[in-house]
Symmetry: C2
Subunit: 447 residues, 2 copies
């Protein structure tokens, strides 16, 4: 394992991250047995001291901090009126596709036409489940039969990835096959090879912008390859979960690849279904979710939705439209989030650099957006690190959570979510994590 | 067909409805051919005059009027805070089951325990679809297999009933069998006979209180029979859609039968699943929906919900809890609705009594709650009445809409929804409907 660095590989994006301190530290792997034994003793002492502090800290979930939620508290007294831009009384029934102005606003932000956008309830995850239900029971616009009538349905999951995506597949009994998540997005050649010959492969997940948890951004080239690759399944679907499209951590703002245009140009207009939401823009529990796709996909979605729904909460959509004012209002709002969470990400990097730099026991990402840092420890050590952290009062996402079935074959990945705790707690928790990483490494190298 | 009267049969509930005027009118069926020919000529002239007026009126859907929605406009500036009774920040993720205070409030109103209640999003219809999806793909807590693995699944539909219930069944490919909806609820003996021997019959719909469209109220006796009847399917489910539980039109407030207690006492605790919402209490499009059932059913529902959802809009739940203040606040609020819509229902009765009374060409209900009047015209005449009305500018719910597949075997039922239009428009529209009923009857009796 080389020098800890999330930005060293080709294709990574420039940020404002400074390099870590140039340490004179000798990598653990180069040390003598005696040196390692001494190091283990040191780390045991450090860990015992850590336990003695009785911490209670949590780095598990990607939740906005109260200070971030406060940014949107004007919502609590909105909307100032109840009629939308079409003159519709948002208080009453109807309007399955969502209100005009919020669809227009997010169409512009997502680079699609308003008729390609559905504005829904408070959760894009629910829209993903609805789409899977419709595919499962009714089949795709370009499909031959409902997916439930296939002998087997498989999804490609770039890893590390988002645990709730995998849970949803598991609920439907959909199989998974993994591909590596690189700095420029999923390993497109691996994906293309899989889909070319196996008609049971019906879809793939991707968080294209500031991926959960790696922070990587899907490049235009990778997106184009995914959009155009031949697939054995005629109704192959890309679940393009653009949850962090506007969630920049630096001034180097990543542009999401325009997957709908790319797919349309490649002759596969119905392949991508995009999801987004304001969950990490306004309120995590009370935002507005969006689906964007080809007009045919949108009509297909609305037809099935209409069998069991009358309309979304249009008042909340209007509340959001009035709060933002314009697409630029959304972008401006995101800058305020950045100001709150950037120092927390900086703290993560600072602690990891100073505590683990040069030792060859961990690598981690330096994301320029999103909600996570992905930490890779020594192979086989992740479960041990999480266990040590738990015993010291630090809750970490379970090892393996970023892999389907919770199974990280190398048992090395840990997802760090620094947004929710206060800055001091992030620093304290990361310092504790570093202690656990070092102890686990020392244990392993002396075993 | 006897004297028009929705209250004449045993088991109907007393209201404050006056009897219609005692007319000296001779029933059409008793008139001579010459008299009928003259009557037809008269009705044709009346209808031509009606058409000449160029009306544009709508009695189609059970939507609250703007004046009713105005009653809840304090919601627009709520909640006044964002922390629930458990100290949870409602703005953030989580809380799949809904917030404490709204569950407690509606548990009291629905006579169940808080742990038996889930507070969801803005639509009980979506919760019904979710429950059907879970039953279809996963099976019931008391089931042997997912319903999708059964050779055939059938639902009992009391008719006339709610068209969206039937649409949902059709979406899943569930068969339907109808039973009559009587003044005291579904024909329980007919239901009991069907479920006793046919294991494909997995469920039934019922709107127990002020049914859509008949307005009838399910009696304690009928509910007890449904709760206790032996069923060939071990996982038979009653979809108890209590959409109008608190929607009284008179001071004679119907009490919903306590189906969960009845079913539990009869040894079938998991049989009923109750649905309710504030859609016709606060905002039709932005209310809070509820599911209530046995604790096992609630846990089953939440387990499946959790595979594709993080939590409902808790801010909107808190907004509602603060708006109502208490269960009594809900009841008090409903009185204000009554004051707005009672005159509209009175107008419907007044026009029908004065225009159609004594002629033997129609019967209609005199509901003491809910949103609809169910009008039965001469057998075979409903489609013609709706067509005549349409040509005169009056939109009526399509004939047959209250029957599965839109198929009213006697083609006689028309659902009238008087809440949305202004009072004058209701009177005008009903006068037009009466003209159409009379013309269709004259046409039929002279054919």
């Amino acid at each position: 394992m080389g020098r800890p660095n999330g930005l060293s590989s080709p294709g990574s994006r420039p940020g404002v991250w400074n390099d870590g301190p140039v340490t004179e530290t000798q990598p653990l792997a180069d040390r003598s047995p005696d040196e390692l034994a001494a190091f283990l003793t040191e780390q045991r002492a450090a860990y015992d001291a850590l336990k003695g502090r009785g911490l209670k800290l949590d780095l598990t979930r990607g939740k906005p901090a109260p200070a971030q939620l406060d940014l949107s508290d004007a919502l609590l007294a909105l909307p100032a009126s109840y009629t939308d831009a079409n003159g519709v009384d948002t208080r009453n029934y109807g309007g399955l596709e969502g209100i005009k102005e919020i669809r227009e606003m997010f169409a512009e932000l997502l680079w699609v036409e308003p008729e390609q956008v559905v504005a829904g309830g408070n959760a894009s995850l629910v829209m993903m489940r609805d789409v899977l239900t419709d595919l499962w029971l009714k089949g795709a616009v370009d499909g031959e039969r409902p997916w439930s009538q296939e002998e087997k349905v498989t999804f490609i999951c770039p890893v590390p990835g988002y645990d709730r995506h995998f849970t949803l597949l598991d609920w439907f009994g959909i199989d998974t096959v993994t591909v590596p998540m690189n700095d420029d997005g999923p390993d497109a050649e691996a994906v293309a090879a899989l889909v070319a010959s196996d008609p049971s492969i019906k879809g793939m997940w991707i968080v294209p912008t500031y991926a959960n948890p790696s922070g990587s951004v899907c490049s235009q080239e990778v997106a184009a390859r995914l959009a155009s690759m031949p697939t054995a399944a005629p109704d192959f679907k890309i679940f393009w979960d653009n949850a962090y499209a506007f969630h920049h951590l630096t001034e180097d703002e990543a542009k999401s690849a325009d997957i709908l245009t790319l797919a349309s140009a490649a002759g596969h207009p119905h392949r991508p279904i995009m999801f987004a939401s304001t969950s990490k823009i306004t309120y995590a529990g009370a935002g507005v979710a969006f689906l964007a796709a080809s007009v045919e996909n949108v009509q297909w979605y609305l037809k099935h939705l209409g069998a069991g729904a009358i309309g979304p909460d249009k008042v909340n959509q209007l509340r959001h439209a009035q709060f933002f004012g314009s697409p630029q209002g959304v972008r401006d709002h995101m800058v305020k989030h950045r100001e709150i969470i950037w120092p927390k990400f900086e703290a993560v990097q600072s602690v990891l650099d100073s505590r683990l730099g040069g030792l060859g026991v961990a690598e981690w990402t330096k994301p320029t957006g999103g909600y996570f840092v992905s930490l890779d420890v020594l192979d086989g050590a992740a479960t041990r690190v999480v266990q040590l952290a738990k015993e010291a009062g630090i809750a970490l996402t379970p090892a393996g959570a970023s892999f389907p079935g919770g199974n990280d074959p190398r048992d090395r990945n840990i997802r760090l979510a620094p947004t929710f705790p206060e800055l001091d707690a992030v620093t304290e928790a990361m310092d504790a994590v570093a202690t656990c990483v070092l102890l686990a490494a020392a244990e392993q190298l002396t075993a």
